[in-house]
Symmetry: C2
Subunit: 209 residues, 2 copies
């Protein structure tokens, strides 16, 4: 077993530190966040930090660095108050990955990465047509993490679009069936296979381990 201390990590070269710390949390969900500016420029950003905040009201959030490429996403959300979260599947993974290139704001990642914007039911922000699970959200608030200036962007779920076959009322979305993939570190994409389901955990019903 090896050990890295805080000072070991601080002393690493930048890229080694980035790859290590970006993989510390484990597997990350693979999503595209879709937005549009008031002047009509669409934007698409791959985001691996989407997290569940609560179910009633249905709140999701993601983490954003304020001064890098994804700032167009933030600007658009503040302008329009809407954004979409779209699950990435294997067929669209390479295109989704390249949305992280540093395109200028007037260039749409939809066009450059050959993904199709889809405007559904008059929702302001664009969905990704190629995604099998599409979520439309209204902006709730941002919270700033003072220690490093990153921002948590919070949204409330307004719409969920999916194939009916992906939803089981007892166990939720069948992400395997939907082909959703996950990410580790900065550049590794993974397929996933369900292996076990365990019952709701009650103190009085512990199994014999």
């Amino acid at each position: 077993m090896i050990k890295y201390s805080k000072s070991d990590i601080e002393a690493m070269d930048r890229l080694t530190r980035l790859t290590l710390v970006n993989s510390l949390t484990g597997y990350k969900p693979a999503n595209l966040v879709g937005t549009i500016s008031n002047s009509g420029h669409t934007n698409l950003a791959i985001i691996s930090s989407v997290v569940h905040l609560g179910s009633d009201p249905a709140l999701l959030a993601f983490i954003m660095r304020p001064l890098v490429g994804e700032r167009h996403t933030m600007e658009n959300i503040l302008e329009t108050s809407y954004f979409t979260i779209n699950h990435i599947n294997r067929d669209m993974a390479e295109k989704a990955h390249y949305t992280s290139a540093d395109f200028p704001r007037e260039v749409s990642e939809f066009e450059k990465c050959k993904l199709s914007p889809s405007f559904l039911d008059g929702f302001k922000a664009p969905f990704v047509a190629e995604s099998h699970i599409k979520i439309g959200l209204s902006f709730v608030e941002t919270l700033e993490i003072k220690r490093n200036g990153t921002i948590m962007v919070i949204g409330q779920v307004e719409y969920v679009y999916m194939d009916e076959a992906y939803f089981d009322q007892k166990s939720g979305l069948d992400l395997n069936k939907a082909g959703t993939i996950c990410i580790s570190g900065l550049d590794s994409y993974h397929e996933v296979e369900k292996w076990a389901t365990f019952p709701y955990a009650r103190v009085s019903e512990l199994p014999e381990f």
Copy 2:
């Protein structure tokens, strides 16, 4: 394609809504958060909301509901200022799942779920011996999400322990090799297999999609 609107989701029975909204974000990392009270009671909680906030300083966070079972974790972190994050692998998944049962604070999930506390190098909070990737963190701050009262708990990485074979300086942790698994919804555990790695995305080097 089916559509659920905000009002459809609000009108669902509680369990259907929970399973749906908990699976909306995609695959979630499977981690155990280890803590100890000042009086020496250890605690272990399965947490699927660990998220990367930044690499320099190395900051991770997770989301906590303030008034349910996991509150012991929060109380311990506020008392001692330290906690651990431990990757869940397949061999320990069932035990890890049952840490979510509502044990009283004086009862340790380590003992009840047959997992082994490991105190390394005098670090205040307990690591999980069975975990292949163990992270020790110092508490930085909490941020409250006002809309639903949940709390984001932020920590700085102080130590990382792992088998040397799991770390590749170019691509970060090899989570497949470490046996780390992921979660969907509330109760589904998944194995993961790496399928692709894509290069750093540059505007000038887009592939032919």
